[in-house]
């Protein structure tokens, strides 16, 4: 049956409206977990905002991270690995004391990536800085280069590693931003623990998405990078320093 003009305009309008809406529907798709067979892209950049005024003496983030990733100590503080730690900072002039959690800052221009001779230290397209332990030769040059002392060297044999977090003697490791969780659409263990059991100081999300919680939070107040003079454009930002 042939269409009359009114019906044609109606159907045409519906089609245009559908085409206008469809991108919006796609955008909602992107906000959820990337499917496991898709390559990561630089359309996203993962980041953290930490409001240290809320931190106080709590350290559930540290416990959660080390539990999640199977990071165990051996009673040797100098050589035991730490992927995240609470740092206490005291103003030299005024004596004002604060604490903040410090982990790999996932810089945009990471010095550790520049110096790695084999390219084992690398930045993934979505901004997460990782160590490819298949090619790490354990030279520790990245540890010399990191301005935040974020990396640890595995000084002894490892056993009972978590299946999602391989770690071995003689290689260098650091916070992975829980890449195994992020890839599955979840948030890092530290952020989850802070939100559930801590003081809700941490917000995680896509820095490139203006509508994400972390971006809206960052845009609404002050925040700083650690060692901003180095111009590394870190993915972890702090509020309250």
């Amino acid at each position: 049956m042939s269409l009359n003009r009114r019906e044609f305009i109606g159907i045409g309008g519906a089609a245009v409206a559908g085409m206008a809406l469809a991108p919006g529907l796609r955008l909602i798709d992107l906000a959820q977990a990337r499917s496991p067979d898709e390559t990561v892209t630089s359309l996203k950049r993962w980041g953290l905002l930490i409001d240290i005024d809320k931190c106080q003496d709590c350290n559930v983030c540290v416990t959660a991270c080390h539990e999640e990733n199977g990071v165990v100590g051996h009673g040797r503080p100098a050589t035991d690995p730490q992927w995240i730690r609470k740092v206490t900072i005291k103003d030299k002039q005024t004596g004002y004391v604060q604490t903040l959690p410090l982990m790999c800052q996932h810089c945009e221009s990471p010095p550790c990536v520049d110096v790695c001779p084999t390219g084992a230290s690398f930045k993934r397209a979505d901004g997460i800085v990782l160590v490819d332990k298949h090619i790490c030769i354990g030279c520790r040059y990245c540890m010399m280069a990191c301005p935040y002392k974020a990396r640890s060297f595995v000084h002894e044999d490892t056993t009972d590693q978590k299946p999602h977090a391989p770690r071995g003697k003689g290689t260098v490791e650091s916070c992975t931003l829980c890449v195994h969780r992020v890839d599955a659409g979840k948030i890092p263990a530290c952020v989850e623990a802070c939100t559930q059991d801590g003081n809700q100081a941490m917000v995680f999300g896509d820095l490139k998405d203006r509508n994400s919680d972390v971006s809206k939070n960052l845009a609404s107040g002050l925040s700083v990078q650690l060692r901003p003079d180095l111009n590394l454009n870190t993915g972890v930002r702090y509020r309250g320093i």
């Binding site: 496991p36 299946p163 071995g168 890839d183």
Partner: protein
């Protein structure tokens, strides 16, 4: 020397058809499923290539499909008694000890089955003592 190389290649090609013929070879125990993610002969020759290629894709591109996931291999092939792919009857060790080829994987990766493993084939044995939950 060319003749020698030719002979070796022939021998290898012949090997594809039946590695366990004449009773020579390692004893490999399979506990789960009827068939691996790739055909057995393909796996025997090329599992190294799959592992090496997949690890780069996972690390650098974030690809975590279950099919070639190393963790998945371990979860499926782990011996239910020891929960491991190494050790005396371990799936990986049984061949690698026999062929005396040292592997590096387990200096970092756990050789134990993930208790919360999904996407693995069902266990072939009965739910007797020693079987995983």
């Amino acid at each position: 020397m060319a003749a020698g190389l030719f002979a070796v290649t022939l021998a290898q090609a012949a090997d594809v058809s039946g590695a366990k013929s004449k009773g020579i070879g390692p004893t490999v125990k399979i506990h789960r499923g009827e068939q691996c993610v790739e055909p057995t002969e393909d796996m025997r020759r090329n599992h190294m290539k799959y592992i090496l290629h997949q690890r780069d894709k996972t690390m650098h591109q974030g690809i975590r499909t279950a099919k070639h996931s190393f963790k998945n291999c371990v979860d499926c092939h782990a011996d239910p008694k020891t929960n491991s792919v190494q050790g005396q009857d371990g799936f990986c060790s049984s061949c690698h000890e026999y062929a005396s080829v040292k592997i590096d994987c387990f200096s970092c990766h756990t050789d134990k089955r993930d208790k919360n493993a999904v996407a693995v084939a069902p266990f072939k044995g009965t739910a007797a003592k020693g079987a995983p939950p």
